[in-house]
């Protein structure tokens, strides 16, 4: 009973009540993901969401697809097993800054390094929400939380730089309130063959409200962010009158006419890394969009090709041959 009709967003909503806090950025992410996935032409039964633990990790329960809510930080490991065992599935991970970069940092690094064909949504709210408000590995220095009453002295991760360092083949950033951008970014990630990591700036209304306001608020967003669109000039500002130019390891603000064209598929990840380093400079626009998108061998393809090759060369294994080989002797 294969689904032949095109899916609608509604088809991807599960029968479970969504239980995020009112006003949480997760709602818009869920909505965008359902919208984008409905249009991919993939049957619902071939979609699979895996998550770890945290607010974001409730995501699979709300998707009317296959799904596994696993254990803290380990979603990439489950997803790797799933994708290796059934490469036909479209596998998505929902994770957060704590789940993905703290307890699960190791697994995130390795799934990106291997280039497993899995799409990773990293909800970054710079706080531990589900445990009620402790600083996370992306919290800003000085953030006062229950476990950092005098302000955090813990230097934060830059998720984009982390992913680039792992050799990720697709790295992007978007914002929960920037729906159009989020949907375009999700669609680009879905089209990528290999691991795709999307950092999503996501507002936690309860424990870290407004942490991205300085760049993400609609009133400043055009001036404070720059959308990296592969093959297009690097322009920003309400009237797109300003641009960026990469010179060696530096990035300069220039008039629109002098802006560089953004390339996300350079042989070196250097330009992407240089752009990722603008995060710490309040005078520069914050890059969002597609930092990197390159083709590379896909782990699950390689593993499955070896299985096919072995079967082609040796023939499908038979139980008898498994036992009866090598040096044997008879006892009569």
């Amino acid at each position: 009973m294969a689904e032949t009709q095109a899916l609608t967003k509604k088809d991807l909503k599960s029968d479970q009540d969504v239980r995020w806090c009112p006003g949480c950025g997760d709602y818009s992410i869920l909505n965008s993901v359902q919208g984008v996935l409905a249009g991919l032409g993939i049957p619902r039964h071939n979609m699979l969401f895996v998550s770890g633990i945290g607010c974001s990790s409730r995501f699979p329960y709300y998707m009317n697809t296959y799904g596994m809510h696993s254990i803290h930080g380990r979603a990439p490991a489950f997803a790797t097993g799933i994708k290796l065992a059934n490469p036909e599935l479209s596998v998505w991970i929902a994770t957060g800054d704590g789940d993905g970069l703290s307890i699960g940092g190791n697994h995130l690094a390795h799934i990106l390094r291997r280039n497993v064909d899995v799409k990773i949504l990293l909800f970054n709210n710079e706080i531990y929400g589900l445990t009620k408000g402790q600083y996370s590995p992306t919290s800003k220095i000085g953030l006062k939380t229950k476990t950092s009453p005098m302000g955090s002295v813990d230097r934060p991760f830059n998720p984009v730089a982390f992913a680039l360092g792992c050799g990720a083949t697709f790295v992007a950033r978007t914002i929960d309130t920037h729906l159009k951008h989020m949907e375009a970014t999700l669609a680009a990630a879905a089209a990528h063959k290999g691991s795709a990591l999307i950092e999503i700036y996501q507002n936690c209304v309860i424990f870290n409200d407004g942490t991205f306001d300085a760049i993400a608020d609609k009133t400043v967003r055009d001036d404070k962010t720059i959308d990296l669109e592969p093959g297009k000039p690097m322009l920003y500002g309400k009237t797109r009158d300003r641009g960026l130019k990469v010179e060696g390891f530096d990035v300069r603000m220039v008039p629109a006419a002098s802006a560089d064209t953004w390339k996300a598929d350079t042989s070196s990840a250097g330009p992407a890394f240089v752009m990722s380093q603008l995060d710490g400079d309040p005078t520069m626009p914050r890059p969002i969009g597609i930092f990197r998108s390159v083709a590379a061998p896909i782990f699950n393809d390689g593993v499955n090709a070896q299985v096919r090759d072995a079967i082609a060369k040796k023939g499908p294994g038979k139980l008898r041959d498994l036992f009866y080989n090598g040096d044997m002797w008879q006892v009569t």
């Binding site: 009973m1 294969a2 689904e3 599960s14 479970q16 049957p43 619902r44 039964h45 071939n46 699979l48 895996v50 699979p60 329960y61 998707m63 296959y66 799904g67 596994m68 809510h69 696993s70 254990i71 803290h72 380990r74 990439p76 490991a77 489950f78 997803a79 790797t80 097993g81 799933i82 994708k83 290796l84 065992a85 059934n86 599935l89 190791n106 697994h107 690094a109 390795h110 593993v303 499955n304 070896q306 299985v307 072995a310 079967i311 060369k313 040796k314 023939g315 499908p316 294994g317 139980l319 498994l322 036992f323 009866y324 090598g326 040096d327 044997m328 002797w329 008879q330 006892v331 009569t332």
Partner: protein, 621 residues
């Protein structure tokens, strides 16, 4: 098989029922290969055999030192044997460190073959000895055979293109040749092995074959020995086709077979760890059996990927040792909650922490049964011998698939590396237990946590249209599998999972009592104590003691019928390589019985005489 040449025919030939040889040398001396080759040849000659490789955790400890000593004990016999022997009859010592570490084990009057070429003052000092054990009385009471193997090999390989250093690396094959001569063994199997092993480096094959042959010929020409020995083929083994196999090999084969018998393919996600790594290595070579092998980034990712494999309809497997088990605990709990099949193999080693990575122990029993947060019941099996690891692996797969549950299979370092003849199974007689996948929603709708007669829930492969559902580690509502915080539901589900695992008891046999069904003493074991217990009980019964034995393969849930069996014996002795974990478990499960715990945690298996001494002490003899 033909002898390479008919030498030593004029020497008297003595028949022995069984012989124990220990090869001991530096980690770099190739003693494991020497021992394996001797074993291989003994197997092809039809001897029953058992081996005990014993090596340090360091790959190459400083040469000539005591921590760098590597040993391989092999016992070969014309009758059934269960252990590699308490004491070697022959010790081959390649240097002073190897001699001093092993001489205390040599049987009184035993033969010690010493490589005098490696006994200079400097060698003695390297071994940390103040005097030369060759001359200080250490060897009194033994038959000492002195031979300068360094020099013999040098001369045998004169004109070889190999460097002097590489020439010396052929010493082990010279030694092996000498032992082949002494025990009247053919060279052919090892010659064939060398040719295959060094097919791309024929000069190495040639040099080692020369050394092997020179060692063999030296036995005759040099008049080192007064006699040659023979150990006839074992005639009491059950008819069939046999091959020599280690525990890890048997276990790997068993996992592939178990999956096949369930109609599944293996997905193994593992992280290398001593002494389990070779299971992953072997499964990685079975790709034509559809095995997907994944070397994960850590122990946790390993089990998580295996659960992912199971979720998609493979038989997920993860293999590890104690420290890795500790890391996998949380994911095992998830597997209990997801109710997916999974086989977790723990090849136990000495602990706690890193402990004794290359030594054996049985101290993960309670961890396996209880070592998870909350009520997370998992069936636990334990292999008793290298070949039994095959059957246990198949059985673990059966339980996992039929009950939709993770299963823990315990092995240990002694079983993993030890070898014995394996009677190859008749493929047609193996049990089949095909996995049943749900592909269409039943009348009234699909319920992911509905249950069959074994309380197993349905298994649905993602990709099946119309059965989309979510599973996870949050408590699930009975039947629907939705998240549920309802107190009554949680109580129900905790009891349901416990009842499901307890129900495994309905499909496992009561273990046999070997010996009289009642008596003065029942020796009860689990895991790799099997061989020592079987030997000790045999000896005790020969002496007329009313001793029987029983061995547990299923350690959780415990099989039915134990209580009644226990009541037929005046005392029950449980030898374990831990501080009495099974005894503790049985004391809580069968409170009306007394269990005598006999512990040894030296990283070494029980010696048969140790058990006989204990039996004698209990029976007052």
């Amino acid at each position: 098989m033909t002898q390479t040449r008919n030498v030593g025919a004029e020497l008297p030939s003595q028949q022995f029922e069984n012989v124990v040889i220990r090869f001991a040398g530096d980690s770099g001396d190739g003693m494991q290969i020497t021992g394996s080759q001797f074993t291989h040849t003994a197997a092809l000659l039809g001897n029953d055999l058992a081996t005990f490789p014993d090596f340090p955790a360091e790959i190459r400890a400083p040469a000539g030192t005591q921590p760098g000593v590597s040993g391989f004990q092999v016992r070969f016999s014309s009758s059934d044997i269960h252990t590699p022997g308490d004491r070697p009859d022959v010790l081959v010592a390649m240097n002073p460190a190897a001699l001093i570490v092993n001489i205390k084990d040599l049987a009184p009057g035993g033969i010690v073959i010493v490589n005098t070429g490696q006994f200079t003052e400097r060698d003695v000092a390297k071994a940390g000895l103040k005097s030369n054990p060759m001359t200080d009385g250490t060897l009194s009471g033994y038959r000492k055979i002195e031979i300068d193997i360094n020099d013999r090999v040098k001369r045998a390989l004169e004109g070889s293109p190999l460097s002097p250093k590489d020439v010396q690396r052929c010493k082990n094959f010279y030694t092996l040749g000498l032992m082949y001569w002494l025990y009247s063994r053919p060279l052919d199997p090892t010659v064939a092995w060398l040719k295959d092993k060094f097919s791309k480096k024929p000069e190495l094959a040639e040099a080692n074959i020369k050394a092997l042959t020179a060692g063999f010929n030296a036995g005759d020409i040099q008049e080192l020995f007064q006699a040659r020995y023979e150990v006839a083929p074992c005639t009491t083994m059950a008819p069939g086709t046999y091959k020599n196999i280690t525990g890890n090999e048997a276990l790997a084969i068993g996992l592939v077979a178990g999956a096949e018998l369930a109609g599944l393919k293996v997905f193994i996600g593992s992280y290398p760890i001593t002494p389990a790594s070779s299971i992953l290595e072997q499964l990685a070579s079975y790709k034509n059996y559809g095995v997907i092998s994944f070397q994960a980034e850590d122990e946790i990712a390993a089990i998580c990927s295996a659960i992912g494999g199971s979720y998609t309809g493979h038989l997920g497997v993860t293999t590890t040792s104690g420290p890795g088990m500790a890391l996998k605990g949380e994911a095992m709990g998830l597997a209990v909650s997801l109710e997916l099949p999974l086989v977790i193999v723990d090849v136990q080693r000495g602990g706690p922490s890193t402990g004794l990575p290359t030594k054996t122990e049985q101290a993960d029993l309670l961890q396996a049964i209880f070592g998870r947060n909350s009520e997370a019941p998992i069936p636990v099996l334990a292999a008793s011998t290298p070949s039994d690891a095959f059957e246990c692996a198949v059985e673990a797969c059966r339980i996992a698939v039929q009950y939709m549950t993770p299963v823990i299979l315990l092995s240990d370092g002694y079983i993993a590396n030890g070898a014995e003849p394996w009677r190859l199974p008749d493929v047609d007689k193996l049990p089949r237990f095909p996995a049943k996948f749900t592909t269409v929603a039943p009348e009234g709708g699909f319920l992911p946590y509905a249950r069959d007669e074994k309380r197993a829930r349905p298994w649905v492969k993602p990709g099946t249209p119309g059965l989309e559902h979510r599973i996870g580690g949050l408590e699930k509502a009975h039947l629907t599998g939705h998240i549920s915080y309802d107190p009554e539901n949680h109580d129900f589900m905790v009891r349901m999972r416990a009842a499901k695992v307890a129900g495994v008891r309905d499909t496992i046999p009561t273990p046999a009592v070997v010996g009289e069904p009642q008596g003065d003493l029942l020796v009860l074991g689990w895991g790799s104590t099997y061989g020592s217990i079987a030997s000790a009980v045999e000896i005790a019964r020969h002496k007329g003691q009313k001793v029987s034995r029983m061995h547990l393969r299923h350690v959780w849930p415990l099989p039915a019928g134990l209580d009644e069996i226990f009541s037929r014996f005046k005392a029950i002795l449980i030898p374990e390589m831990n501080l009495g974990q099974l005894a503790r478990l049985l004391r809580s499960e069968y409170q009306r019985h007394d269990f005598i715990s006999y512990s040894k945690v030296q990283g070494l298996p029980f010696k048969t005489f140790e058990l006989n001494n204990k039996i004698d002490a209990i029976l007052g003899k």
